[in-house]
Amino acid sequence: MAGLAASFGSGAMTNSFAEFDQAKLLLVIGSNTTEAHPVAGAFIKRAVQKGAQLIVVDPRFTGIAEHAQTFVPIKVGSDVAFLNGLMHVIIKENLQDQAYVDAHTTGFNELKAKVAEYTPKKAAKIAGISEELLVRVARQVASVKPAMLIYTLGITEHTCGVNNVRSCANLQMLLGNVGYDCGGVNPLRGQNNVQGACDMGALPNVYPGYQKVEDKAARAKFEEAWGVKLPKKNGLMMPQMFEGMADGSIKALWVFGENLANTEPDIRHVEHCLESVEFLICNDIFPTETTRFADVIFPAAAWSEDDGTFSNSERRVQRVRKAVEPPGEAKPNWWIFREVAARLGKEWKSKSGQEIWDKEVSKLAPALGGIKYSRLENDGLQWPCPDTKHSGTTCLHKDGCFTCGMGNFQALDWTPPAEVPDKKYPLVLSTGRRLYHYHTRTQTGRCGGLNDLLGQETADISLADAALLGVADGDLVRVSSRRGQVVVKAKVTPQVPQGMVWMAFHFREGNANWLTNPVYDPISLTAEYKACAVKVEKA
């Protein structure tokens, strides 16, 4: 989010899912679309079926790669070098949209000078591909206008995540592809309401609607609306909260609906933090590995037991409806926060999801001003939607008129992952999600049938490494990193290139996060889930 906001002035997906199967060329980078976003993947496949060109850039030969005319198997964490290499070729062969660049962007000369250093030879070497392939991809993306770029966590979950995102933005601005239907830079959100949680200001530096905490006028606005004095300085991001728990400066933590003990890198360290904090509160629908540490657990109403809204990747605010009653004494989460506020001396007026949205959220966040429950009955509305006559926005930065005025190029250097393979830990571990489960299986693990389709974690390794290790498909292997080790079954698969191990974090046993490296992008503080060094032995 931070990356796109810096480049374009808005940190959201620029275009819409409705355009996916209309696009003429799609560049999919760091996205295992068919497993992580299957319906979005279906639209991409439909585009190919109708004749669109598809380029897939990924270390693994994923399901979506099977549909691509061009598959580019770059090395884990080489994205900036690869994208700089593409831009080098594009500028050298004068394939950029110079009129667009001149009219709508700043920083082109610095970008040009920087990417001049990334010759095809250099970029291809870092990316582990042939020069010929790099040049061909550069010409191919420049050959169709507009071309659509789609990325997911393969771009962001790196210590250089923000730089990866900004490089994607650089490429699309260079080609004049931002601000048009079937173009743009399109991050697919991993969770149903990541966009919404950001929009609502569940971030330490912004109020709802991305109004900055450090901006005096914004603060005054919320002080007046809420009838309170508000703190002036930005709060802590999650990894900083963990540091605070470890060093004792954070005394109380409230965890709402997250199973941090399985999802964060380096489980041992995370559990140490959760154990150390003086007072831990959890809202959840199930007992989890995280609620074990809680001093108080509030039983929450689940999806389908409460009325509210989600905001999807394409900024569409959609209704979520109550269909059944919550079990026992479980209550909506908004009610729990409201009750605690009341006990701390603040009585809040809004008594339902609709009242919270209509009377507070949509009044306080300008981009959501025209979105009211009464307008969300069917397909919802895409923000920005500033007033109740506005029909929503499918494509941001229309015709290159960026939210921030001019689009900002940023000249960037490639940096390797924080931990790279060495003699002791010779393989790269990359992690993600598989089709049949969702995150820590708190929910999907309790759905009939899904455990039958995928019942345990595996370590996916290449045929070449399997042969070197003397491991056959289904053999138990021990995967270890500097932080921990797990014993899991090996899945020997042509999807994975030599030198890589790929795992997920769905199961407590064999969870990849016993191994992952708790190092973060310096701006977004997103963890480097996609790269750490491991070794694999026959167990």
Partner: protein, 353 residues
């Protein structure tokens, strides 16, 4: 340039070049019954239910597959059309085991509805000999080929809509059957269990295994909602009976998913009814165990502890992690509590990328 026209049941109507006769009829509100037609997929013309009479044509034509032509004269409900449709429905009914009493699709079956509409009470043709055992070998989808009418909608849904290419037509003649590669069970094939084939099946040949026996179609209330898993935000119907969600289907023609769902969206709903749900507030006792408490006890205790910690260490010693899965209104209230009541901006959530 003037738009091309054709005559539909005696009325002149305009159309867009490239539209099929069916699309032209739908656009002007003339109903033509269909069975195998699947929106957004290549038409197959397999079932012969949408037949219409086109003046000068050698035979009746399948309106779903026939492009509209300038000057065409079309009858959608002539005697010839009616007789032919009736015969085709009879043949479909005779082609398998269409016993409605215990069929999951009873009340929601396109073939049943057509038989009712065309008043078919007796079937003049002897039944097929080809019988198939029910395939219940996978955990999510029941395949009962004795109810299959070979309309091919499942094949279109798999290949044209989801583009998973897991099923197609196999064998020949009376032995024709919908198959995976090598006619293997779903779980040994390329199938990814999106269930789009089930959604597309107009009869009871493909049904949701988890919904078997839970509700007849007319007993459920349908509630539209948004999928709780990934960031696509698919629109779905929850089929609810007696306070339980018994089935999930996609909302047709809705943005952003246009009638599609994936395996998690379609089959990942029953966690809400798990007996392991938390049903009462819990407070950790001296013994390190969690003990049930009333809401007042738990809320009072939390408020008291937060006050104490704030007084002793300041508001910035308190931090919160919100949820990227729950509704906007929950996240809004949580950040409002932290900022406006506790007095700290230490509020974040898990996926800040």
């Amino acid at each position: 340039m003037a738009k091309p026209t054709l005559t539909l049941n005696g009325k002149v109507v305009e159309f867009e070049p490239g539209q099929t006769i069916l699309q032209v009829a739908q656009a002007v509100g003339v109903e033509i019954p269909t069975l195998c037609y699947l929106k957004d997929a290549t038409p197959t013309g397999a079932c012969r239910i949408c037949l219409v009479e086109v003046k000068g044509a050698r035979t009746l034509v399948a309106s779903c597959a026939m492009p509209a032509g300038n000057g065409m004269e079309i009858q959608t409900d002539s005697q010839a059309v009616h007789t032919s449709r009736r015969l085709n429905i009879e043949l479909l009914l005779a082609s398998g085991s269409h016993n409605c009493l215990t069929c999951e699709k009873n009340g929601d079956c396109k073939l049943q509805a057509l038989a009712y509409r065309y008043g078919i009470t007796d079937i003049r043709f002897a039944g097929q000999t080809q019988q198939y055992p029910k395939d219940e070998s996978n955990p999510l989808i029941v395949r009962d080929f004795s109810r299959c009418i070979l309309c091919g909608r499942c094949v279109q849904a798999c290949n044209d809509l989801q583009v998973n290419r897991a099923i197609g037509y196999g064998y020949r003649g009376a032995a024709s059957k919908i198959v995976t590669t090598g006619d293997r069970p779903y779980q040994e094939s390329d199938c990814v269990f999106c269930g789009q084939c089930v959604e597309a099946c107009p009869v009871g040949a493909l049904t949701e295994k988890k919904a078997v026996g839970l509700a007849r179609s007319w007993e459920t209330k349908q509630v539209r909602t948004t999928c709780p898993y990934c960031g696509v935000g698919c629109q779905m119907w929850l089929h609810v009976k007696d306070g339980r969600v018994v089935k999930v289907t996609a909302v047709e023609d809705a943005q952003p998913n246009r009638g599609m769902l994936c395996v998690k969206g379609r089959f990942g709903y029953d966690f809400i009814h798990s007996p392991e749900r938390l049903t009462t507030p819990l407070i950790k006792g001296e013994d390190g165990q969690h003990h049930p408490a009333t809401w007042d006890q738990a809320l009072d205790f939390v408020a008291k502890r937060l006050k104490e910690i704030k007084k002793k260490h300041g508001a910035d010693a308190i931090a919160g992690v919100s949820c990227a899965r729950s509704i906007n209104e929950d996240s809004y209230n949580m950040q409002k509590l932290f900022r406006g009541v506790i007095g700290t901006n230490n509020i974040d959530h898990c996926a800040r990328t």
